[in-house]
Symmetry: C2
Subunit: 608 residues, 2 copies
């Protein structure tokens, strides 16, 4: 299975054109400016002095790298001399400050020169991975190869130290990312040693005595945090730091696909099943706890303290996409869709300028830190997005992800062209000509003009879709509607998109007696900003009818006659005629907290 590259698909209208325009016109430079102000670009000069204005940080290079990668995706559509000047300046600093071996890390080169490759958890190889992804993207977008050459040299040095000599203090990246980046570098350069180095890391993770003895943060974390406990091929569950786990599994899926490694593929499938069917929020968020930013156990999905890092939702989409390499099944693109429209997009404000690192499914600000007798504060996610935070991995990750989202639309094998996502767009590739016209997910209607010499054209029928009309004969297989010999054709699929009430498995005690409201792939939430306080106490009655309302946040809001307890002075009272009707308004979850701090809930009491 192959994917049509994002650069061969131009998004032409609808929901995603708006989002990409926002990224291009606002977010890109907003993040650049915040990163400049916080000296993330200055740090690349490696001229830091003690008692200077700033001190470089172990993961700052990766922030800049993801920003360059995102910028490159935007440049691939249209070159921009001023933007390239900013990037080239950074590239010059990176390439020119690399040492004689090709090694570059703005933190270790300045503040801890003698400690290179001794602190496994300190993101050195993670930064390299992101710099490689940036180098490949910038080379593809502009043809410029200074960063690419520098990163190849650095990767060669890593190969020597880690694989050939095994002379570093550790064997594999403490924060995976390099694994998948090396596969990208291999595919871009054709140099098989990068693939082999990636495979080396994938094979060694959790399967070596050297790292079993390294405790990352003694007394705090177990081996699983850093993906060291179990060899990947033996895993059946996603464990530890959620972004580390899913970046590693993304690399593992790439390696399994290239090497046709069935044991590794099976492990990837088992872990995907575990992540998606036992440990994922309805928003596609993963990682239930801030403590270690980790997965916890099956069905443990607290809403108010959900960690659900934006980067983890992106990583889940990346991993799900790579799972398609083993043969298509709509569960993979369904998961991408769930994450993208909910747990990823919630990470960025509607104006494109501020961000959530964590994406809780409930906010109850009146009851955060309510103990006036103690100075000790309980930890809750912040209630408003910020322009920058200390650990600013998410903002540039959103940029690069949304700027290249058109790479998630199509996949193909010898027989079949798959439409994985419905996005208003046109391909710009020789072998396929396909145009989608749609305002999905505002509604479920998609027009598809197609000239395709594949035996089949396959349209994903989303998991949320119970009924649809398609103006051609089709056969359903693995969640896709297969149309035989499509040739030069005009298709129209109309997916019914009613509001649906979704319940969760009875083991998810957090959601007991509650339902979530979805329309199409979009999860909705109720905010106090629309409904007044105590919206968490409201109930959606059985058989309640929803109507579409304003589109303040790009997609229609929903209205429903709901019930809530009367304003009752007693603390406890006999249940009876104690609820009254009110007009509840729901907005897309991704749009919560765009009007200041507000009580919010995704899961709403079910009126049975």
């Amino acid at each position: 299975m192959n994917f049509i590259d994002f650069s061969d698909v131009k998004i032409t209208g609808g929901f995603w054109k708006q989002k990409q325009d926002m990224i291009k016109n606002t977010t890109l430079m907003a993040v650049y400016n915040r990163f400049s102000e916080t000296h993330r670009f200055d740090a690349l000069k490696c001229d830091w002095k003690e008692k200077g204005e700033y001190e470089a940080h172990i993961f700052w290079d990766s922030d800049v790298a993801k920003w360059i990668e995102g910028a490159a995706y935007i440049l691939s559509e249209r070159r921009d001399a001023e933007l390239e000047r900013l990037i080239d300046e950074a590239v010059d600093n990176i390439a020119d400050n690399a040492d004689e071996n090709g090694y570059f890390n703005s933190y270790y080169l300045t503040t801890r020169q003698d400690e290179r490759f001794t602190h496994r958890s300190d993101h050195e190889l993670y930064c390299l991975g992101h710099l490689i992804e940036a180098a490949v993207a910038y080379n593809e977008a502009t043809g410029k190869d200074k960063l690419l050459k520098a990163m190849c040299r650095y990767a060669d040095y890593v190969e020597k130290v880690f694989r050939t000599e095994q002379s570093a203090a550790f064997l594999t990246p403490g924060h995976p990312e390099l694994e998948l980046a090396l596969v990208k570098l291999y595919k871009h350069t054709g140099e098989k040693r990068y693939l082999e180095l990636s495979k080396f890391f994938i094979d060694k993770h959790g399967d070596n005595d050297k790292e079993k003895g390294i405790s990352v943060y003694p007394g705090m974390f177990e081996l699983s945090y850093n993906q060291d406990e179990v060899p990947i091929r033996e895993r059946s569950t996603v464990e530890g730091h959620s972004v580390r786990a899913l970046y590693l599994l993304s690399g593992a899926a790439d390696i399994a696909a290239v090497y046709k490694d069935k044991a590794l593929e099976s492990a990837c499938r088992r872990c995907f099943d575990n992540a998606v069917n036992k440990r994922m929020y309805i928003t596609g968020g993963v990682g239930s706890t801030h403590i270690g930013e980790t997965f916890t156990i099956d069905y443990h999905l607290p809403n108010r303290t959900a960690y659900a890092e934006t980067c983890a939702a992106i990583a889940l989409a990346m991993y799900s996409r790579r799972m398609q390499q083993f043969g298509n099944d709509s569960a993979f693109a369904d998961t991408v869709e769930r994450a993208v429209y909910n747990g990823v997009l919630s990470g960025i404000s509607m104006d494109g300028k501020s961000f959530f690192y964590e994406n809780p499914l409930a906010v109850d600000p009146d009851f955060n830190n309510v103990n006036p007798a103690t100075k000790e504060k309980e930890r809750y996610p912040i209630t408003e997005r910020l322009e920058v935070f200390g650990c600013s991995c998410c903002p540039p990750n959103i940029i690069r992800f949304l700027a290249s989202i058109s790479g998630y639309i199509y996949s193909f094998d010898d027989d079949t062209l798959y439409i994985d996502q419905y996005i208003d767009s046109v391909t710009q590739k020789e072998d396929f000509h396909i145009r989608q016209t749609t305002c999905y997910p505002a509604d479920g209607k998609v027009k598809i003009q197609c000239n395709c010499d594949k035996k089949y054209l396959a349209l994903r029928i989303p998991q949320w879709c119970d009924s649809f009309k398609l103006n051609k004969d089709y056969e359903i297989n693995n969640g896709y509607a297969f149309i035989k010999n499509p040739g030069n054709t005009e298709l129209e699929i109309i997916m019914d998109m009613p509001v649906k009430l979704v319940a969760s498995n009875r083991r998810v005690h957090e959601n007991a007696g509650k339902i979530a409201v979805m329309r199409g792939p979009v999860v909705y939430c109720a905010e106090a900003a629309d409904n007044g306080k105590d919206i968490i106490s409201a109930v959606i009655p059985k058989g309640a009818e929803f109507s579409l309302a304003d589109t303040e946040f790009m997609l229609p809001a929903l209205k429903v006659k709901a019930m809530r307890p009367k304003s009752e002075s007693k603390l406890y009272y006999t249940a009876g005629n104690d609820y009254e009707q009110f007009d509840m308004k729901l907005i897309p979850y991704y749009a919560f907290a765009n009007r200041g701090t507000s009580e919010m809930t995704v899961w709403i009491n079910r009126g049975f």
Copy 2:
């Protein structure tokens, strides 16, 4: 308003005879043995040496004192030479080891001789308070006065240091208790200086600059923790450490009643209203958080992490009882009843041998500490009662409280004899002859034989009771049914005791969409031990009918046709015909966790 003393009312049968027999036959010596093993009695010898077997603790004297007080209440019914020998041994150690001033504290006299009266929060005066209560009780029960004399001497010394000279490092007890004990000592001895010393403390709490500057545990607690922030007369809310707050308010109510201090009475009334109508669990538990064991804010009543210390429920009962001194209103005895049958009794196992310090309203053991990647553990209440714990204030507090519970049955003023609690019992007092025959709260029928020369006999109509039959004419006033000129009479009241579903104020977000099941004053809960796992996900349908079942735990269990989600493999699914019926069994909340660790919930999803 006065109370008929516990020693004048003998419990003769029913629920409380069983409980008192358990305390007398099992709990008293079980706690004695645990206290002996842990050297709490040894410590009274004050011969502790460094590197010895144990080190005395700042509050051990209070543990022993409460045990003596409880034992004394039991002795007041029937003397027991062996038990008295154990007490006398302790008394000898206490009296003989007091210093030349009368000062006694087994911790300060041994390990920190030079630091007497310098650490306000270290329970010195708290220990004295409990020793005074023990001394009064033991003197009343046996006529022996060694402990009483020793404690009078100690109290005199405290008066000198704290009131006359004001030479201690602080002005008022960091952990209130002495305030109410001094009123007891005054009433027992007739010595007004003890009353005045109590009033001095009540007046100074939160109303002096000396203590405003003392930070108890720097960086952790605010002034309100130790009741130092606001003068009592200015308070409208209960704040800080819940036991400290309620012991202090109990003392304040006593002082307000004796001195007819209207400002203090008003403050007591406001605080009672705040505690009971905004900050109390349905079980009568108070103190929502383990952090500082404190009250938090109105309507913040988390169930699974509820602190609701057994001692705090006892303190609420003590405070509520004292509120009756200002004139009777059934709200006071209602609160006593709520606390006693639920949040107090839950603190002791059915066999009388083990105890809860915390009394959560939900237990979800499968989802406690679910993060395999970190060593950091989240804090949840323990899931099974223990025979002893480091801070063992609750076990002897239960003994003394339940052993003297007959003191909560009657109150009187010039005109009226009030029946505050329905307990099978007979008075043994000259002026009143009254016998209650009842198995309350197994049902709501109470026979009352009475010979009373008061103008009125008043029967409390409990807040849970919507209808009752009474075989005499009556008039309802302040929640009591007043019967005029009762004379020599035989009464029968039959209170209908259907199962009731109780909802909470919409501000209590924890209980949104949920109901609690009560029968009479007793709160019920559902345990996995009866219902299987995921009982938290079950729903009680609208109009469901309950029936009474076995009485394994003294009162009938309840059965109801409830619904729960089908065992469904999907994590999320479209809500529809997804629930199935099952027989739910509920047991009295006080009986939870008597069959090992089990998922448990008081608040159950409401089927509307």
